[in-house]
């Protein structure tokens, strides 16, 4: 069980989160949405315990994928996946092989990460998260850089992961992905949670947070001004 209660934080003199209560549930794919600067990534980091003043969960149980995660060196995809075993202090090959297969990068295992496309890098980084075999997955924009088909397949995979009893929290900019795949949509705006519930029912609140119109035809999409 992870979560934050009445959590506030200031970063660089700006209040990024203001009295936030949030706990993701096992077996659910929870999406965090909201405009830039709403505090989504910060909330994810708070759950992960990597912000000052947040409790540190067991790194074997909770895995985190940073926004736009890159590797400093030209390591192979397999080496990247093995980094997910650091919390366990082992180099067990089976979970890594499973993780590479899950993320769909088994065939790229020997390729250097700095020679891959953005989408392939994202999948390799996901393989690293899966290799930890965590109970809680905290993923910041896991579908950025992915084409629609790849984004759908990753979201489906995360949905299956949640259905298997894991806790999955995803920061998403693409609201339609949240509508299609998430069990729960949490809308953040200016450091506070403005809506939290079944994705489709939260759409008006999401539209308000983004400052966009909401389709009156009943179709679940946001309209430009």
């Amino acid at each position: 069980m992870i979560g934050v209660r009445d959590f506030s934080i200031e970063l660089g003199g700006r209040r990024v989160l203001d009295h936030v209560d949030f706990s993701p549930l096992p077996g659910r794919l929870t999406a965090l949405a909201g405009p830039n600067g709403a505090g989504k990534s910060t909330l994810l980091k708070a759950l992960c315990g990597i912000l000052p003043g947040t409790g540190k969960p067991d790194p074997r149980r909770v895995a985190y994928l940073a926004q736009g995660a890159r590797a400093a060196w030209g390591m192979t995809v397999e080496e990247i996946a093995f980094l997910g075993r650091i919390p366990h202090g082992d180099r067990a090959p089976e979970p890594v092989a499973r993780a590479l297969a899950l993320a769909g990068v088994s065939t790229l295992a020997g390729q250097r990460i700095d020679r891959l496309s953005g989408g392939e890098v994202r999948r390799a980084m996901l393989a690293r998260v899966f290799a930890t075999e965590p109970e809680v997955l905290l993923l910041d924009e896991p579908t950025a850089d992915l084409d629609p088909k790849a984004a759908f397949s990753i979201m489906r995979l995360l949905g299956e992961t949640a259905a298997a009893g894991r806790t999955v929290v995803v920061v998403l900019h693409a609201i339609e992905l949240a509508l299609r795949y998430a069990d729960r949509l949490v809308v953040l705006d200016r450091g506070g949670i403005t809506a939290d519930g079944a994705p489709l029912a939260m759409l008006p609140a999401a539209a308000a947070a983004f400052g966009l119109g909401f389709g009156q035809d009943g179709l679940p999409h946001l309209l430009p001004d």
């Binding site: 980091k45 909770v62 940073a66 890159r70 192979t76 650091i86 930890t132």
Partner: protein, 312 residues
Amino acid sequence: MIRLFVLGLALLFAASLLVGSAGVGLPAPVILWQLRLPRTLLALLVGGGLGVSGAALQGALRNPLADAGLLGISGSAALGAVIAFYWGFAAAFAPALPLSGMLGAGLGAAALLALAGRAPTGPSLILAGIGLSAAAAALLAFALALAPNPYALAELTFWLLGGVADRTLSDCALAAPPIVLGVVILLRLGAGLDALSLGEETAASLGVSTARTMRGVALGTALAAGAAAAAAGGVGFVGLVVPNVLRPRLGERPAVLLLPSALAGAALLLAADILVRIAVLVLPLNAEPPLGVLTALIGAPFLVVIARRLGQ
């Protein structure tokens, strides 16, 4: 792979005992014990310490240009050692030399990490290192200008050029404990350096403390590179060259490079020290060229090659 390195080191070790600036062959016992063995052991220690320091610094700072020499850590160590020379501490109390070298290196490494700020990567770190190098070089020049007599000045200058010739087994005994301890500390940082390659936040999520890893690198480097500089003077570029040569062969994961960099650093410095002795045999020189001059001549063009590769 490791076995191959060890075999190569053993061959170089034997060659180093057999090659002298007066000729090649089994030397008289007194030469073997008092000249060849000390310089061979010291080359192994210094090369190993500098090699693994380079690999650890590059891993910690996520920058292939990081090196104890380029970042001014060796310069700070040399300054510490020169101060010990200059004020006569080293003459009064032999361990003062490696101790002040380590102290200088430790202060240099700490200043560097502080100057470069919270996220010591990329240009800010290299610039901080240039600043530290310049400050250490200026203070060194100041100490030299104040040298009490021409003999002291000549001795200091010769020592600064770098080398492992004319050392005794007791010099080795002074240098060995801190270098070995520093190497052991750095070799144990593999998982932390691997995690850091994904950035500080991801490392933290994997249960790795950046601050603790950085402290380990600073301490290990201060011990290994500091004592190496105190024992061998200004031998540069080993820590820069070795990991960069190994990377295309062994892969770029930081932990994979640590032990091979120690072994290859030892091999490189030993080979270079054999080469300066052969240089006297085959070239019209009346003395061995300083070892530090040879490593700089190898290392400087190499720096340009890395810079070009980075630019691509």
